[in-house]
């Protein structure tokens, strides 16, 4: 079993707390997560803005260093990679960013981004070999090379640009693609093709995907397992089918209920916070101020994770009869999902 990326009890704080008595802001708190070469999986990380999902992505990509805990690449702390290990890491772990408009240099034809990757990583020995690699990657994401090559970025639709970014990532045959809101800036009719492409790459090449999104519907459609973040905490995690069918954390339920259903006869209603809802402090549940099920216990301590089944964990006192799960063992319910 080869572990590509392992986050161990990773916490990221912003601001060191010395300047203001309020302390730093929590980016993510005590998250453990593993991407395994042998069990490629699509994991959705969902949450609202400020939930820490992009911070988690940046930690996994080595673009940010954890305040405490560590992120390991093939067993070695990311901060101590040698030059050649760092290079290997870049080949193994690729990213697709949110904005397909910002990632291109408008002065070059779009394939420049792909050629650069081929060149920097020495993927091809001749121009012809480079061309065939690029053609192959483009076909894999459903772009016709003859209709795309030579175009400038503004001549492609947002969906095409984003698929080309996926093609670029694919050139390196990575083990993991981190996709940070890859479809949020793309028209609805284009979303399907990008998500189908991502799912197809997983199936065809065994690539793991961390799909960062605020959109529960697409998260449900493409992923196997899901982590729900709220203000930096993992509040619920597990296999996607059971999380969506039977959300246990009241926050997950709120997120699901908030999505307007495309049926005028289905109500679009949200539960109000309970009478026991209270102010949030570091020693309460982070969701106690908005929770429809808040109880006295919720304002007395921060709930730990409870293991509600072999593939589920939830940080909520409603489930305190279940076994406690140490936060460092979070990946035991996640990798159990498949």
């Amino acid at each position: 079993m080869t572990t590509i990326i392992e986050a161990r009890n990773v916490t990221k704080l912003f601001g060191n707390g010395r300047l203001r008595s309020g302390g730093g802001t929590v980016g993510v708190a005590d998250v453990s997560f593993t991407v395994d070469d042998e069990k490629p999986t699509i994991t959705a990380v969902v949450g609202e803005s400020g939930s820490g999902k992009t911070t988690l992505a940046r930690l996994l990509l080595g673009l940010a260093a954890p305040t405490t805990g560590e992120v390991l690449y093939r067993g070695k702390d990311m901060r101590r990679l040698t030059r050649s290990e760092r290079r290997r890491f870049l080949g193994d772990v690729q990213v697709v960013f949110q904005d397909p408009y910002d990632t291109y240099n408008p002065f070059y034809p779009v394939e420049h981004a792909l050629q650069l990757t081929v060149r920097k990583f020495g993927l091809a020995s001749s121009a012809a070999a480079a061309r065939s690699l690029i053609d192959e990657a483009m076909s894999a994401v459903g772009l016709r090379p003859e209709a795309t090559l030579g175009k400038r970025p503004h001549q492609l639709s947002g969906g095409q640009r984003q698929r080309l970014m996926v093609a670029r990532a694919l050139l390196l045959r990575p083990k993991l693609i981190v996709a940070d809101e890859p479809v949020s800036m793309v028209d609805a009719s284009m979303r399907a093709s990008i998500l189908t492409t991502i799912r197809g790459l997983h199936e065809r090449y065994g690539i793991s995907v961390v799909y960062i999104t605020h959109d529960l519907t697409t998260a449900y459609q493409v992923s196997h397992q899901m982590m729900v973040l709220y203000k930096g905490d993992v509040v619920e995690a597990g296999d996607v089918e059971s999380v969506i069918r039977d959300p246990q954390h009241p926050y997950t339920r709120l997120l699901i209920d908030s999505v307007p259903k495309p049926d005028p006869d289905e109500p679009w209603a949200l539960e109000r916070p309970s009478e026991k809802a209270a102010r949030v402090t570091p020693t309460t549940c982070p969701f106690v101020d908005r929770c429809s099920r808040a109880m006295d216990a919720c304002s007395q301590a921060k709930p730990p994770l409870f293991r509600t089944s072999s593939t589920r964990a939830v940080a909520c006192f409603l489930y305190e009869d279940a076994h406690r799960l140490d936060r460092s063992e979070l990946n035991t319910v996640l990798t159990g999902a498949r």
Binding site: H214, Q221, P260, P264, W268, A269, L270
Partner: protein, 330 residues
């Protein structure tokens, strides 16, 4: 429980008079590559109390319509034909000054990205007062009272009046924008993608706010967006836009229950939900170029039902099953 439920059927007859009438509207953009027809002969009416949703992909002309309704189109855009009548007044004939008086007082817009357009260095109350003062409404004390009232209407505490935009969350900022839009009690309220930058939970609150203020004003409302689920939940009628045309327009229930135009059918079929995992289906192909528009139906290249006639003759909106459909199938 708080719910945004679509108006029940019996309310459909309870709507008031037509307050917005758009007839054969055409808008063009003059570009170096030629003239792009962004809106190509669109007609609809909205009655007081009604909520019309306009949906379509980017480039379908929905935002251009919103801008035209406010008569805020600037070159290279120009109105090439048609008329817009708001509360009995035809906009094209108005002087600039008369149009300025109509805006906010009779027709108000919550523009796309409005939430980022608040003045960062002015307090919320001053930004609401701007419109009130400009339209010369009431004395100082009355104006302050009005600020508190509109804030209450959008569900914000009176203290928010003294705050600056950076002290507010995204949802609160959008509600301030709504407060500004309703400050002169307009008869028509236009909202262009008002929740596209907001989280889902906040989106629900903002739409609930829109519904409450629209109910309270008895205004006609137009919601522009691309989220079909949101339209199903919020609009009493929907118009589906494609390449500058209204492909289909009718009561929300009718359209969702039995979509007729092939584009509407594909659009509704491509919706993914959390009910079950499905094949993710987009609509193959791309919309046509708006410059040198092809003759015939603009959807024909992507349409599974395209016939010979579709290539030569542009389908005009025809009444079918209590709605208008622009398709030769009917």
């Amino acid at each position: 429980m708080s719910a945004i439920t679509p108006a029940p059927e019996h309310r459909a007859t309870a709507f008031g008079a037509d307050v917005l009438h758009v007839e054969d509207l055409r808008v063009e953009y003059v570009t170096s590559a030629g003239i792009a027809t962004a809106v190509d002969g669109v007609s609809f009416t909205v009655r007081a109390g009604e909520r019309l949703g306009l949906v379509g992909e980017s480039g379908s002309g929905k935002s251009t319509i919103a801008t035209a309704l406010m008569r805020l189109l600037r070159p290279p855009a120009r109105v090439a034909g048609g008329r817009i009548v708001v509360d009995g007044v035809e906009l094209q004939g108005l002087s600039d000054e008369a149009m300025r008086r109509m805006r906010l007082a009779t027709i108000a817009l919550v523009a796309q990205g409005a939430i980022n357009s608040l003045n960062p260095s002015a307090r919320v109350e001053d930004q609401i007062l701007d419109g009130l003062v400009d339209h010369g409404r009431a004395g100082r004390r009355e104006q302050r009272r009005r600020v508190a009232e509109v804030l209450r209407q959008v569900g914000l505490r009176p203290e928010v009046a003294r705050l600056f935009p950076h002290q507010l969350s995204g949802g609160m900022r959008q509600r301030v924008c709504i407060a500004i839009a309703i400050s002169l009690r307009p008869k028509v309220l236009v909202a262009d993608e008002p929740t596209s930058a907001l989280d889902v939970v906040v989106q629900h609150q903002v739409m609930e706010t829109f519904r409450a203020v629209q109910d309270d004003l008895g205004a006609a409302m137009i919601l522009i967006g691309h989220d079909i689920g949101l339209m199903a939940q919020f609009a009493t009628r929907v118009g589906i836009m494609y390449a500058g045309l209204l492909a289909e327009i009718g009561e929300t229930r009718k359209i969702f229950g039995n979509p007729l135009h092939p584009y509407t059918r594909l659009l509704i079929a491509s919706i993914t939900t959390m009910e079950r995992k499905t094949e993710l289906k987009g609509i193959p192909g791309l919309p046509p170029s708006l410059i040198d528009r092809p003759t015939g139906c603009p959807f024909r290249d992507r349409c599974p039902f395209a016939m010979e006639r579709c290539a030569v003759e542009e389908p005009l909106p025809r009444p079918v099953d209590d709605r208008l459909v622009a398709c030769h199938l009917y």
